[in-house]
Symmetry: C2
């Protein structure tokens, strides 16, 4: 007879470890087991580019040592252990040494996360072709980079641009390829242009609207072939997005949503009795569209983990949803976005009206001020704020956070204008760039 | 017969100039006159401490040259002109050269602002005793400071602590006196303590709970006498708060509110037909208490000016109110607050529950992280967020803005926890300090 574990969590990332910790906090006597394929749990995946750029140390990427979870919190953590089969009430897993274990469970949380999309071209399996997900990947990438001078990055989303910056910082020549005609597809094109210019200004060779068709090399990759040219390189990072890891979910008969991620209710229950899903593997409600959406972002994953853990322990906590707030830093630029892009707003059936307003980060008379470009998008009929994108030299988080909450609360452009934001000469002009943008948007909506 | 001006604005500060500009934008054919006692309109009053600290230039404190208002916007601006009498439909003013003018008006906006409270002790009229309001005051202060080595600052509110920092930056020895047992009375004591420590760490001599009873000197001030001791100084700044400037309002029979500032309705109309009030002279709705309150803060004044201007031009724009968001920088600390303090919450009849949580400004593995202390206050019954105070080395505005909007929208601690704030290693840990504080508060509210 397999042993019985009350709660099994598959996946030791942010959602999984938060959920496991939450269950043990609420119900210390429940047996909670976590199965994680890699050697690490709860590590700073988002920190890998900075590790490669030499800003962060490898050992700092692990948020908590394993013993915090095992000894302090009493969670049974199985690292280097792959779940090979899951069925109602049963789970089989194989550890790296080949030994198999089987457990019974009452409740299961699927927190399997998202995996990088594979670049499906000849040569993708060559040495020196790198993809980042685990700390093992980070370690391998660092060893490859040690011998590389010129490095290709395929894909100009968050990870792609963060890699471009950090590889430049590490002294590499960086060639960035993006199949779309713009970098950062979560931004509208005119805002993405500012990021593209910043990349070029810092020496990144940016190729937009260019499709990689082959990677060439003997054993190691030596050349990137696109539909427009050939480029000699010493290594290639692929960063063309992620896809939810749902194989185990499918084994269990768990339904997926339209996005391809796991469909859940607000309590994060799947359609299968006793099975929950949280984090990058699962959908959550988009507070702007009111529809299920997919937000593979660490803070969303963490909060879903908290909710799933609460419910696995017997509470009835609802996850309200998200608006897709994300920020990053690209050389000297801070980049933030929340809600819908203008393009997406149109696809969702809104009638978007937008403004792009340039402001400053500080009072005019205070030194060190930087430019800040704010795009706001509202629905023409209701005046409701749908999205915001902000790019600037500093202070972006202060405005994108404000916009994110306004959008979450269904605020109008008028309400945004009347937001009581903080002001002091070192931090903002007396008309904050977000307020000014809201005022201009309000004028446009009323005209 | 006096000439007729459709709209007269008394006071050329943020509220007045915003209102005048708004009227001319909406109704270019209306005659709009502004009367301003000092030589400057629309100047950066908040910049004066930084000017004295050598960070800002005098000429940069003027946001727009006068001709922008007169030539470009067509406003009739009378500087160095004091309104000496106002009655329904009539106004008399005297310019600095002694000449008098009289005008008829249809509508009047009282935007007279607030004036510094006077330190009511013997010697307060001595040379070298300075108070900051106008740019003329700034100029005079700079001349006095040129010969001063040791300077007293009386009052440790925003202006007081900003002066303490800037005078230190300018190489002065600073002695700061505060009658209350803490600095910054808009913070709760445990948060104010962090600011006090930062002041002391940077060499400011801080005297709390100490009342200044006399200033002593021949012609120039030489000594501050308190209820606890005597201090030799070369100059004294008084910064003991401001009081609404309501003399003209009283002449007109305009009603004042409980706070002493002018009472208005949401359209910013006073009780007198055709008379509006905006800015530091007027009350506005406190969105937490639901009662009229007084927020003498530039962003509130500006937005009230926008609303008053809209309505003076015939629209019906409502000013929704404010939550009292304010930020400042004190040496290496950023300080933000919004909503009610715990003390004030209790006075207002709430049953406040609070937490103080310490977090970091960036991911643990990202260099340059600073400590951030977050205090959140919620009502025990409804769980509604009532106030937030944040002190830290960086990133305070990003959290206080988010808290301000949550509080404005009546959000609960639970809703605050689920805020979809931006995250990236250079800007936040994956559990943002504000989110963590909301989580701890939520736990406390539920226990």
């Amino acid at each position: 007879m397999p042993e019985k574990v009350s709660v099994i969590v598959v996946g030791g990332g942010p959602a999984g470890m938060t959920a496991a910790s939450r269950v043990k906090r609420l119900k210390p006597n429940l047996r909670v087991g976590v199965f994680e394929r890699s050697a690490y749990v709860s590590y700073g995946q988002c920190g890998i580019p900075y590790f490669l750029g030499g800003l962060s140390r490898f050992e700092d990427l692990v948020h908590y040592p394993l013993r915090v979870f095992t000894e302090e919190r009493g969670i049974e953590v199985h690292v280097r252990t792959e779940v090979v089969e899951v069925a109602p009430g049963l789970l089989r897993a194989r550890s790296a040494d080949g030994s198999e274990v089987a457990y019974e469970w009452d409740k299961l949380l699927i927190a399997t996360g998202a995996r990088p999309r594979r670049l499906n071209v000849p040569g993708a399996e060559l040495e020196g072709v790198l993809t980042l997900r685990t700390l093992e990947d980070a370690d391998r990438a660092q060893r490859v980079l040690a011998k590389a001078r010129r490095v290709a990055v395929v894909g100009a989303g968050y990870i792609g641009v963060e890699l471009a910056e950090n590889l430049t910082r590490a002294g590499k020549e960086v060639v960035l390829f993006e199949i779309l005609p713009q970098v950062m597809p979560t931004l509208d094109p005119e805002m993405a242009r500012l990021v593209e210019e910043e990349l070029r200004r810092n020496g990144v060779e940016v190729h937009l609207g260019e499709r990689v068709v082959e990677l060439v090399g003997e054993s190691s990759v030596r050349k990137v072939v696109t539909d427009k040219g050939e480029y000699s390189v010493d290594a290639v990072f692929t960063a063309i997005g992620v896809t939810p890891e749902v194989e185990l979910a499918k084994q269990l008969g768990v339904e997926l949503g339209r996005t391809g991620a796991i469909r859940t209710d607000t309590l994060l229950r799947t359609n299968v009795e006793g099975v929950y899903a949280a984090g990058d593997a699962a959908e959550s409600l988009n507070l702007v569209t009111g529809k299920p959406d997919w937000f593979p972002l660490a803070p969303v994953a963490n909060k879903m983990g908290y909710v799933a853990g609460s419910n696995l322990a017997g509470l009835a906590e609802e996850f309200p949803g998200a608006v897709g707030t994300a920020v990053t830093k690209v050389f000297g630029l801070e980049v933030g976005r929340t809600g819908l892009t203008e393009r997406r707003a149109r696809e969702e059936g809104f009638n978007p009206v937008s403004v792009v307003v340039e402001g400053r980060s500080r009072a005019g008379y205070y030194p060190g001020s930087a430019s800040m470009t704010v795009k706001l998008i509202a629905d023409a009929e209701a005046g409701r704020l749908l999205g915001a994108q902000i790019v600037g030299g500093e202070g972006v988080l202060a405005r994108i956070n404000a916009a994110a909450i306004l959008i979450s609360k269904g605020a109008t452009a008028r309400e945004a204008f009347f937001s009581d934001l903080g002001y002091a000469p070192p931090f903002a002009p007396v008309w904050d760039p977000l307020i000014t943008a809201a005022r201009v948007l309000l004028g446009k909506l009323r005209s």
